[in-house]
Symmetry: D3
Subunit: 234 residues, 6 copies
């Protein structure tokens, strides 16, 4: 595969992307049926920042950032750059210079299934980043790859133009066609959670609110006093 750079992928509509900005990663993932989450290995380099935007995807060779340079040109206002490699890689494929270029173009953040560097500089300049590793190891520009093709990261497929939402809990992807639906479902979920939160503050138990006492009974889970339990000898 010599690689391809796709120049004008479809994107989620901006107003739908913005509609998602008010929700957290957990909420949106739950609202979409517990789908779209990248795993716990991809962590933010800053704390307390949430970013939402449309994916520009990169598939690079390990130890090589050539295709990120190609991707910068494809990035614009409201995008989030998402980078993976053809095999596992912790090198610092991304740093402060790329962030400078992307910020100039209105890009909102970066998600790396590899390493990142210049983390202090990135925090200082307020460019949001999530990565699999922090590592200063530099890269070459010698091997081809692709930009704006679908990539598979941590069990999720990310297509160019899909919505990327990231916060302290991690990263979730929403298919570009479903951004509106995701926002609506998230609003519904948040309303439901607000009611639950209020009930929990008032002392209601999840056991009662969700009808779980019957579930426990059906599953054969039994209540025992400590004396009964200890008396079993197990």
């Amino acid at each position: 595969m010599s690689g391809v750079i796709v120049t004008n992928p479809p994107k989620a509509r901006p107003e739908d992307v913005e509609a998602l900005a008010g929700y957290g990663v957990a909420t949106v993932s739950e609202a979409m049926g517990r789908t779209g989450l990248l795993g716990p290995e991809i962590r933010p380099v800053q704390q307390g920042v949430r970013v939402v935007g449309t994916a520009v995807t990169v598939l690079s060779w390990p130890g090589d950032n050539l295709m990120i340079h190609a991707a910068v040109e494809q990035c614009g206002e409201g995008d989030v750059l998402v980078v993976t490699t053809t095999s596992p890689c912790t090198d610092g494929l991304f740093g402060e210079l790329f962030a400078t270029a992307l910020k100039q173009r209105g890009v909102r953040g970066v998600v790396l299934n590899t390493g990142i560097r210049d983390t202090q500089e990135l925090r200082d300049m307020g460019f949001a980043a999530w990565s699999r590793a922090v590592c200063a190891q530099g890269t070459v520009k010698a091997t081809g790859g692709s930009v704006n093709v679908p990539i598979a990261v941590d069990g999720q497929v990310i297509r160019p133009g899909d919505v990327i939402l990231a916060d302290d809990d991690g990263v979730v992807v929403v298919p570009r066609e479903r951004a509106r639906e995701a926002a609506e479902r998230s609003a519904a979920r948040e309303a439901k959670e607000a009611a639950t939160r209020a009930a929990f503050r008032d002392g209601q138990l999840g056991l009662d609110r969700y009808g779980l006492r019957d579930t426990l009974k059906r599953l054969g889970v039994e209540y025992r006093t400590y004396e009964e339990y200890a008396g079993d000898g197990s």
Copy 2:
């Protein structure tokens, strides 16, 4: 195993638990003969917070938080919730709604041998948490488990009512019968460490303070100048 919920386990005495509040995880673990530590994979989601309390234990199925709901009812003032799963799991079994319910009941924190979510919200509401992973992945409520039975986490057995102490260094468990002893030993260790700290500030060496020069000699460790060493050709 259909699972069991034990309703009134014995607990360490509150005054003994409080007596431990002034000591760090490293101090208490050392004082108890270097025992009780959970391993380095379980990390705090906040910085600079120390919590001490009595364990309410949960054994859940992976990807399932049903038994945490059952456990909430068993939790009260001064408790710390401790959750493990029957097989390795990084899903976010615990989040802000559970924290709301627990806070209302006077629970002091949570230790998860799994994932956690809503980390920013937890920090904002000041609910202390330690976990093996941060992951927004949601859960079902479909499979039974147990509450307040002994669980084995990272090489340690945690029984309901045992003392859980957690800070930036990790988590230590003290058997409920030994809380008083642990506090006394910790006080003694801290006094000893204070003396050592003062001596070190004055420039005394551990080699001298602990009589280690003889140890080195007995073990055959030799002092060499660089020239002697380099001359060996090794």
Copy 3:
């Protein structure tokens, strides 16, 4: 091997070490031909701190800090303690008491290919530390090892007197004979990066600045519209 303590290893010249203080780990590693980096597993326990100094090296038995006591005596103004073990170990071989002793001697920080403890205390006292794990597990003083011999950590050889530079991105080692060269190269690289940064702020692309369009062409990477790409059926 009974072990050896080398008492007067050669060191990088202080003025050369200081000359490196103004550069980050990524810059110095790049300037030295992408060499010298420890891998991404060794992380700082604090944020926003950079340290540079000359290595005092320790090779310890796992679970044993005897040789760190021996090393303290070999440490002085401007040093950085670097500790590894003969086999993988996450125990807390280093904590606040050692830091007290080292600070009194003018040591600038510690790099541990093992665990560390008392992390909150270390942050409070401003003693900089990088480690593979955070773990309160204590140690014995029972088995010999070496001080100020070359050690191999994460693919790098660190000799006593080599320059250790550490920041939020990780840790890099510069051979003691090449400290001056490293500083000069880092200055050159930083100048080049400043120009690139300015160009990127002005909207120039890396593709143009580095002449990468030809590289892409040579490698057979092709530009396609989304319609062309989607029409391929791949």
Copy 4:
């Protein structure tokens, strides 16, 4: 997502699948431009076995094998079952009873992004299997998922009907539309490799065969005698 079972997905044509049977995983992956490989964590439970077939895909909840039961009904002659979970899981979702059912239906093997059990029995009955872990941990049948939807495993998307080829080196997926192309390219690659093999047996060097001496020169790699190299003092 309540999940869906897709009943009649398109499949690679049987004759194209068979055409791939003569090639190894490395050959096919190379022939397809170094694409399609699952990573090194998914390993065979037997040695010296190669399997090729069309994918029946399963997306299960961790610790739950309900959807594998649903998938068995969708499996037939020449298929390979491919199972992943919505979050990381090492439980033994698959064992000898499933293998019995699948063998009866003409299924050729199983690829699990989870754990497997009954490994000795599987070897005895000659049912080929690849998995991320070996673990006897049993499962429940309590939570929904999907069969024959696209799944993302280890950076690859696997759709129902795609070709799965597995041997001692691991597992590769070929898109169902490209099976014929993959076989043709593999034949070409194997011919080329046979020529190279013969040349290497005759003592030709890759440096000469692939024209790499110029590459080395262009990259600035220099030949030095040991004396020259050692004299550098580096």
Copy 5:
């Protein structure tokens, strides 16, 4: 903790232990309610061997095999040695000399939550072993620990005298008081599995045998043709 060597722990009755010899690890674990399994990281060094016996437990310091020497004296006919360390350790704490001593005493095998060495020799002499790692790294005899105290390994508590059963699928522990019950339950499970195996060979589906079609329906899992599914645009 200076450590203790317990000299005459209670043990499962020999006839009950033997009654378990005919069952595999998966069967026994399932029969006991999916309990007792050590995780997938502890693997056999040989293939096709099953061992059952009563545990002699060892808690050692990392990198130190002193307590294994102490444990040999406590081992006898029908025992299985089980070794863990106070913190993670991959060193080769056990090798062919220990196996020689244990074999002479009628010990049936060893389970190590650490590393092992002399693996070829162990296979040649037919001494069965399971371990977390294979590593030739040697050990010292310098730090105390305990023999025949309860240890916690991979989420399971193993007490001296408990039954250890190990095969290619891993290791399971059965509490010493429940060996008889475990054998009886395993027999029942095996009978049930034999019936299922026969049914599966006849082509019956698990969906029908276990009544899972209703479960799928209750959970909202739907059957769709590929055309219906693809038409959704998801």
Copy 6:
């Protein structure tokens, strides 16, 4: 660093290398003071094979095998190829074609701190290999590196011409100047072990043979009956 290929490094004397052929990795490592071992992650792809030879070292870029081609020319009778990368890499940098070329030149095996492929073919042709991963992922030939420079792998420095010994327990390196000494020490150790083995077969205990009863006493390890121990309530 553009990289360098060193053409005539010094090597351990052939007769000294052969003298080591009779000993296992564990024996030689122990004989040399428990030094030189690569860690447990580097595993053989075959079983029951031992190889000894002189190292030809390679430092490659991740995902790139250019420098292995350069190294083949530097390899000759009695050598063992040792390959590492500048950052972590699991790609299959080495396969059957390289093995064909090396076998033709009298090379005895390969040790890879990366991935390997064509494992079945390598076993069939009897070319011995040890690697960190098995992965069919192919490589490019685009970035420079070095041949026959010292490399640091898993805590050990390997220089060209050093002795590499590998078997089922892993890989050990002996400095080229110390090959004779290593053989002599290994012979002595083996004699000592033979005596111990005989003693253990006769029923002598390590406790007595090594005088460890005093060690246990000095360390405060106490013997207790189960009744005494259980009576403590701990």
